[in-house]
């Protein structure tokens, strides 16, 4: 069960399998992507995926941010979970990259998360969320 979930649908109970297993098993619907694994390998299989869990072994390892955007840009709409060394002050960036659930190694303070998501009302660039870049606001 995710610590923090920004989705309305029911959480998936099926455990996530490794990328290798997923690519060879036709019935798995949840996969875990390690930080050095290529998210693009999942693109042909998005229609049968309900959960992708992206590993953050260290908060400094930011490969997962790209993995998330690649999946969202390819049209993935299922649950996208960040798991591991996920810290309060990263949640906003992760949300922008398309993550919608979080399983941090160390539980996060809900109030601090809420505050961190509300500091910024504007964004400079488009990403995988609904944020509208300010250049669009400027020029309609």
């Amino acid at each position: 069960m995710a610590e923090l979930r920004f989705r309305d649908d029911a959480a998936l109970e099926q455990p996530a399998v490794t990328l290798d297993s997923f690519l060879t098993q036709s019935n798995a619907t949840a996969v875990r992507l390690e930080s050095d694994e290529d998210a693009r390998l999942l693109i042909p299989h998005l229609d049968r995926l309900a959960l992708v869990e992206v590993a953050f072994p260290k908060f400094r390892d930011g490969r997962g941010y790209s993995s998330a955007r690649i999946l969202r840009e390819a049209g993935y709409t299922g649950e996208l979970r960040a798991a591991g060394d996920v810290l309060v002050d990263q949640i906003a960036f992760m949300r922008r990259c398309g993550f919608d659930s979080f399983v941090p190694d160390v539980p996060l303070d809900a109030e601090a998360v809420e505050a961190s998501l509300n500091f910024y009302g504007q964004v400079y660039q488009g990403a995988a969320d609904a944020g509208v870049p300010v250049w669009k606001l400027r020029h309609g």
Partner: protein, 543 residues
């Protein structure tokens, strides 16, 4: 000068509030130093040997007098009355108290300034040509393009936890005054068939493994500028090494993959990224460009200068450069007086420079990567009065690009990474060559000093470079020859065994003596070195 609108201001104000909250949590003990470190680093706050250091962003090195005065105010109120201009065209303060840092950021925000992304493994402050908008040889003003990158890269959600820090420079001239090919991405605006585009050089850098960036694409149509940059970054973020911080820069990735393969992958990524609508419409560039419109020059300004004061004439010849507008000139203010600390300026001097910019340079200043200040648009008829005011403030050193115009990192006097001091070596070299006639006889000679292998003092790119190392507990200085950060970018070569502090000064003198003996008419030191090679100098040094 770019001016914030409500959106820019709201984002910077939000950062002030956010960082204030983070510092409060840290001071209250709700956060450990380990947890706080990445957050303060995202705000340019480092813990050095003796105190916190705060680095303030000066986007593409451009600022106005109001902002410059704020920098003086911060030096006076929160530091020890001086600031240090850096090779990244920023300013840093060496004696900051953590509890003051939110107030400093709040003060900065009142003049549209911040410390966002001046450290951390993210896209750092965008650097550019200090003569932008004034140089006759540019195909366009690079600053609007640098500003576009500033906005695009600010709090970029995907690229805030890159493998390592990431530096981008944008220039628009064939003459490179920004060491563009020694950046992670160096962009040169170019024209082809009457259309503006950008040449992308990717994977340059200094540090312990210096590399000159290879050309990845010779012409990116300007409407694809941000998408192509995003594609360059995404390929790096996906593949860049995380296992070893010394191998995590993009230069290592490109070296290992090969420039052609990297370029192929960027092209593939770009084909996808371009469909995302990342590039703003032309109207946004027009909006930004309007802020950089040429100032209201006096078309009748006289183009001649009275050179009758000989000291003024020396300064004029050395520090004043050609402007594209007749009757105007580009003034370089050297922050390298003999015996001084390269790049340092007192609050009083910063105020003087602000006043002069307001009075004589259409309210504009630039910081250069060589740690000097530029007043970009000065009427020639004002040059003498300006020189007198600079002299009064001890800001009229006539040594631009001469041997005493030294780039030096803070070194072991401040920095926790350093192995050796840089500042005393710079001071001793400047004192040895204090005679300005002697310096002028030597001509252009770019000397650069780093106090450790991280190369913040650009020693690889010095015509003469010095690298401070720790040898069995004592400071030792290696000498390098033949580097260049200009359009003829090259990396210096280590001469041989290192020296102590006085020894390295002696060795430099043997090199310059040899140069005077070998040079042909009109040759700079670097030209002679390239013509005759390394050996004559090595022999002169070691006998």
């Amino acid at each position: 000068m770019y001016k914030y609108d409500q959106y820019d201001q709201a984002i910077v104000d939000a950062r002030v509030a956010e960082f204030g909250d983070q510092v409060r949590r840290r001071l209250a003990g709700d956060m450990t130093e380990d947890q706080f470190k990445p957050l303060r680093l995202m705000n340019g706050l480092y813990l050095q040997l003796h105190a916190y250091m705060l680095r303030v962003a000066i986007p593409y090195g451009t600022l106005d007098s109001r902002q410059m005065r704020m920098l003086a105010h911060i030096a006076r109120k929160y530091d020890r009355d001086y600031g240090h201009f850096t090779t990244r065209q920023n300013i840093q303060y060496n004696w900051i108290k953590l509890e003051d840092s939110p107030a400093i950021l709040a003060d900065l925000a009142t003049v549209e300034m911040h410390a966002i992304q001046t450290s951390g493994n993210c896209i750092r402050n965008i650097s550019s040509d200090q003569y932008a908008g004034a140089a006759a040889d540019e195909v366009a003003d690079p600053r609007p393009w640098a500003e576009l990158l500033r906005q695009w890269s600010t709090f970029h959600p995907e690229f805030s936890y890159l493998p390592r820090k990431f530096k981008i420079a944008v220039i628009a001239s064939d003459e490179d005054r920004a060491a563009m090919k020694l950046h992670d991405i160096g962009i040169q605006l170019v024209e082809r068939d009457g259309k503006l585009g950008a040449a992308f050089y990717v994977g340059g850098g200094m540090g312990r493994t210096p590399m000159v960036a290879p050309l990845i694409k010779d012409f990116v149509p300007i409407e694809d500028y941000l998408s192509y940059t995003e594609a360059c970054l995404r390929v790096y973020n996906r593949y860049g090494r995380r296992d070893n911080i010394y191998k995590a820069r993009i230069k290592i990735l490109i070296h290992e993959l090969g420039a052609a393969e990297y370029a192929r992958q960027v092209e593939e990524e770009f084909a996808h990224v371009k469909t995302l609508g990342i590039d703003p419409p032309a109207a946004e560039l027009e909006r930004i460009s309007a802020f950089f419109a040429p100032p209201a020059y006096d078309a009748g300004a006289p183009d001649s200068v009275d050179r009758s004061d000989p000291d003024f004439a020396v300064w004029l010849d050395q520090n004043v450069k050609v402007h594209k507008q007749p009757g105007y000139a580009i003034v370089n203010i050297s922050l390298k007086p003999v015996g001084g600390i390269p790049g340092d300026a007192s609050s009083a001097q910063i105020d003087v420079m602000a006043d002069l910019a307001e009075r004589y340079s259409f309210d504009e200043l630039r910081v250069t990567h060589a740690q000097n200040i530029v007043l970009p648009h000065v009427a020639k008829r004002d040059l003498y009065a300006m020189w007198q005011a600079l002299t009064e403030a001890d800001l009229a050193a006539a040594n631009l690009d001469l041997i005493s115009d030294i780039i030096a990192c803070p070194g072991l006097d401040y920095c926790s990474l350093a192995n050796a001091r840089s500042i005393p070596v710079a001071q001793k070299i400047a004192q040895r060559f204090a005679d300005l006639d002697r310096q002028r006889t030597l001509g252009e000679l770019k000397l650069k000093i780093s106090g450790c292998i991280n190369a913040c003092g650009h020693h690889h790119a010095g015509h003469i470079g010095i690298l401070g190392v720790d040898r069995k507990g004592t400071e030792n200085y290696q000498l390098l020859l033949g580097g260049s950060g200009a359009e003829d970018t090259s990396l210096g070569k280590i001469t041989g065994p290192g020296f102590d502090e006085d020894g390295v000064v002696d060795a430099i003198e043997r090199v310059t003596d040899k140069y005077l003996e070998l040079r042909d008419t009109g040759e700079r030191f670097l030209d002679t070195y390239r013509r005759v090679g390394f050996d004559p100098f090595k022999e002169a040094i070691y006998g």
